[in-house]
């Protein structure tokens, strides 16, 4: 039966939006598939890994017969990608096969019944709804996502805390060694709500959100977070667990502080890190009056040293850090300057952006 005739890109674009979450290997074969649903002049696409579900749609030139099929997301995407840009694709079903034709190419793809395709259940509990410009949420996510834990036994760290309180939205990520936190002011007051968004959903959101002022609507529920933006509807289960109280590890007022040009510090650290120990990635900061000396040594006793002139009148300090943790934050910030505030060699350092109260990065030192 004839399904539809469609421009390659009209199908490929929405398909790429939903197929990012499809796992390569899964015990349930249908989860490798994408659900294509035709209703009037709309094509709805849906993919899921049972934790996250992404749906989107494309408009068709003319209305087609209502039909639903599922077919391998990855194979369909690979086929479409390798066709010429301007190709027109025709899809039709023949028994349990989907026949895709374009020019002189023909592909027979195995289908699985659309009625077997799983969908996430509706979330439960109160809904807190927050609207933010897509580019703002994308930026906020980028500023904290790198600090999320990965495959940590403390599973609730393998994600990002979404916290809505009054008219403030806060995102927090930590792997136990460093913590990144960003807030934004909302237009309207909201009831308090919090959820841990799993790592995969966070990375997918960063990918799918656009650099536009168009709004993304976040619906935070006790067991689910729904992000709706453009034609995309991303539904994610939340990590079932209690995120630790992050406020107590943000130092209130470390005594020794200095402001430095972000790129200057970033480039000095990048150079020095060439000679850091590949496993431990340690870097030494030696602070004296108006001077930051950065020293890296590796297992072969090679050494790199960088001297940076700063405005510093705090206590002399010799402190070690994992250079990756420092570069992570410097690479993701876009401000001209950063402020570093320190206590002693065993206390955390607070990195902020001068004149911006919203972003905070806390990193614990390393004994070198």
């Amino acid at each position: 039966m004839k399904l539809l005739n469609i421009e390659r890109d009209t199908l490929l674009k929405p398909l790429q939006a939903v197929s990012g979450i499809v796992e390569r290997r899964h015990t349930l074969p249908i989860l490798s598939n994408v659900l294509l649903e035709i209703a009037d002049s709309e094509l709805n696409l849906l993919a899921t890994d049972l934790e996250i579900q992404v749906a989107t749609k494309a408009s068709l030139d003319k209305s087609a017969n209502a039909q639903a099929i599922t077919v391998s997301a990855r194979k369909l995407q690979d086929i479409l990608r390798s066709l010429p840009d301007a190709a027109t694709v025709s899809l039709e079903t023949q028994e349990s096969k989907l026949v895709l034709r374009a020019g002189k190419s023909r592909f027979n793809l195995q289908m699985l019944p659309a009625e077997d395709f799983p969908r996430l259940a509706q979330g439960t509990g109160e809904v807190a709804t927050v609207s933010v410009a897509q580019k703002n949420l994308k930026r906020m996510l980028q500023l904290v996502q790198y600090a999320m834990a990965q495959q940590d036994i403390r599973y609730y760290l393998n994600g990002l805390l979404l916290l809505v309180d009054a008219n403030k939205l806060t995102l927090v990520a930590t792997d136990g060694h460093r913590l990144a936190c960003i807030s934004a002011t909302l237009d309207e007051k909201q009831p308090r709500a919090e959820a841990i968004l799993p790592r995969k959903a966070v990375l997918e959101l960063v990918k799918l959100l656009g650099d536009t002022d168009d709004v993304v609507e976040l619906q935070i529920q006790q067991n689910q977070v729904r992000s709706h933006f453009g034609s995309v509807d991303l539904l994610s289960k939340v990590v079932d667990g209690k995120f630790p109280d992050f406020t107590r590890v943000i130092p209130s007022n470390p005594p020794s502080r200095f402001v430095i040009t972000r790129t200057e510090l970033q480039q000095a650290l990048q150079r020095a890190s060439i000679l850091s120990n590949e496993k431990f990635r340690g870097v030494r900061w030696v602070l004296t009056k108006d001077m930051l000396r950065i020293v890296c040594t590796n297992a072969e006793q090679e050494e790199a040293e960088e001297e940076l002139e700063i405005d510093y009148s705090g206590e002399p300090l010799d402190i070690g850090f994992n250079v990756t943790y420092l570069l992570d934050v410097l690479n993701n910030l876009s401000s001209d300057q950063v402020e570093c505030a320190l206590g002693d060699a065993n206390s955390s350092m607070l990195i902020t952006v001068p004149g911006d109260e919203n972003f905070k990065y806390v990193v614990m030192p390393m004994r070198i």
Binding site: T27, Q151, D152, I153, T174, G176, H177, R178, L179, P244, D245, F246, R248, V249, E278, K279, F280, G282, G320, N322, N346, S348, V362, M364, P365, M366, R367, I368
Partner: protein, 407 residues
């Protein structure tokens, strides 16, 4: 036998099996239990209590409530019909007055090392078969004249006796040794005169000593094969040996049939493997009560994490890293399901094991209540042989945020 067996055995292989090992180790600690029925298999709560007068009070089997199984029973307890693997409640019905002791694996490992070291000092060619049994290749130690007609193998008997007394001196424990031209026969004959036995046989003794034994005594003839053999009218090894090889192959397949024919005639060429790496390391636990994956999620999660931590410490203590992590589930109907996953990196720490075991667990059906949960590390490699970056290791020098400290 249709082939002439060489008169002089080309090899002398010993199988040494410690007598009621766990229970005997316990008796060293609690000598007052000697001569009494004792079973090992309780939990820590069953440890003996020391009374004010210095004497000890032991937990008795008839007071036991739970679902543990017997790990070992002394020969006195075995006389009541209890045996390892039997449920403790069932055993309590047979031997209510037997003393019940908790298993102390650290202690057993210590004695295992002691007895193996004692053997190694005399005969270095040792194959580990477990905590309480080993194969020993004595071929090079056998005096030349022993290979001849000197009866009854006095040279090899001396060596075996020396090993037995050395093990006793080092541990205070007795063992039983079977000596024969191969591993198969030695394993069979170490059992013949247990406890504290020594049995030496040659191929010439096979019809007299081995053929009367039930076929199921052979390692590799399990319950299913025994049942099939029985249905064909074969109960003893001798009856199996009388069976035609072609007929056996027709009934049991070419490979297994040929093997059955070989072992029935006491033939086994397997070498004593002195250097072996473990194939897998695992930990498992039977629950106090059946648990459901969803309803008892929290409790199950804790037990699961604890198993992963124990497995991680086993791996680290033994110096291995693993690439494959598996889970084993036993449901309330005793059905067993296993699931494994292979990681893209070497795993040695609890977090890594927990992660991959968690993913493996997700692949298993979890609707039914669980009775047992196990975690297994396979695809092992000696951790020292890995490049250092490859082993997931906590970075000791990195300080952590005080996120989890009590304020």
């Amino acid at each position: 036998m249709n082939e002439a067996e060489p008169k002089v055995p080309s090899r002398w292989i010993a199988h040494l099996d410690m007598d009621a090992f766990y229970a005997s180790v316990e008796l060293l600690r609690y000598p007052e239990l000697r001569g009494k029925p004792v079973v090992v298999g309780g939990r820590r709560a069953h440890a003996p209590k020391t009374l004010p007068d210095g004497s000890r009070r032991f937990a008795l089997l008839h007071d036991y409530a739970g679902r543990g199984v017997i790990t070992t029973a002394t020969y006195e307890a075995r006389a009541f019909g209890v045996h390892s693997g039997m449920g403790l409640m069932k055993a309590a019905a047979l031997a209510p007055d037997a003393a019940l002791l908790p298993a102390d694996f650290d202690q057993y490992r210590k004695y295992s090392k002691l007895f193996k070291a004692a053997v190694r000092a005399i005969a270095p060619q040792i194959e580990n078969r477990g905590i309480d049994e080993i194969y020993i290749d004595l071929t090079d130690l056998a005096p030349a004249d022993d290979m001849g007609d000197a009866e009854p193998h006095s040279g090899i008997r001396d060596i075996a006796m020396r090993i037995k007394s050395s093990v006793h001196k080092a541990t205070g424990l007795t063992c039983s040794i079977g000596v024969s031209p191969n591993k198969l026969l030695s394993k069979l004959c170490s059992e013949l005169e247990k406890p504290n036995g020594l049995t030496i046989i040659t191929m010439a003794d096979v019809p007299g000593r081995i053929w009367p034994l039930p076929a199921s005594k052979i390692n590799g003839i399990g319950p299913k094969a025994s049942e099939k053999l029985a249905s064909l009218g074969i109960k003893t090894i001798g009856e199996l040996a009388a069976g035609d090889e072609v007929w056996l192959k027709q009934n049991f397949g070419a490979n297994y049939g040929a093997w059955l024919h070989r072992v029935a005639h006491g033939r086994d060429e397997r070498p004593v493997v002195t250097h072996s790496e473990p194939k897998s390391i695992s930990r498992e636990t039977t629950f106090e009560r059946d648990l459901h994956a969803r309803h008892d999620r929290e409790e199950l999660g804790k037990l699961f994490t604890r198993l992963c931590e124990q497995l991680a410490s086993d791996l680290q203590r033994k110096g291995y890293a693993a690439k494959t992590i598996g889970v084993k589930l036993r449901f309330d109907d005793f059905r067993i399901v296993t699931r494994v996953l292979t990681a893209d990196t070497w795993i040695q720490d609890a977090a890594g094991i927990r992660h991959w075991a968690g993913r493996a667990l997700k692949k298993a059906p979890l609707e039914q209540k669980l009775r047992l949960l196990g975690v297994r590390a396979e695809n092992l490699c000696v951790a020292d042989a890995l490049p250092r970056e490859d082993v997931d290791q906590e970075q000791h020098d990195q300080l952590t945020l005080g996120l989890f400290k009590v304020p």
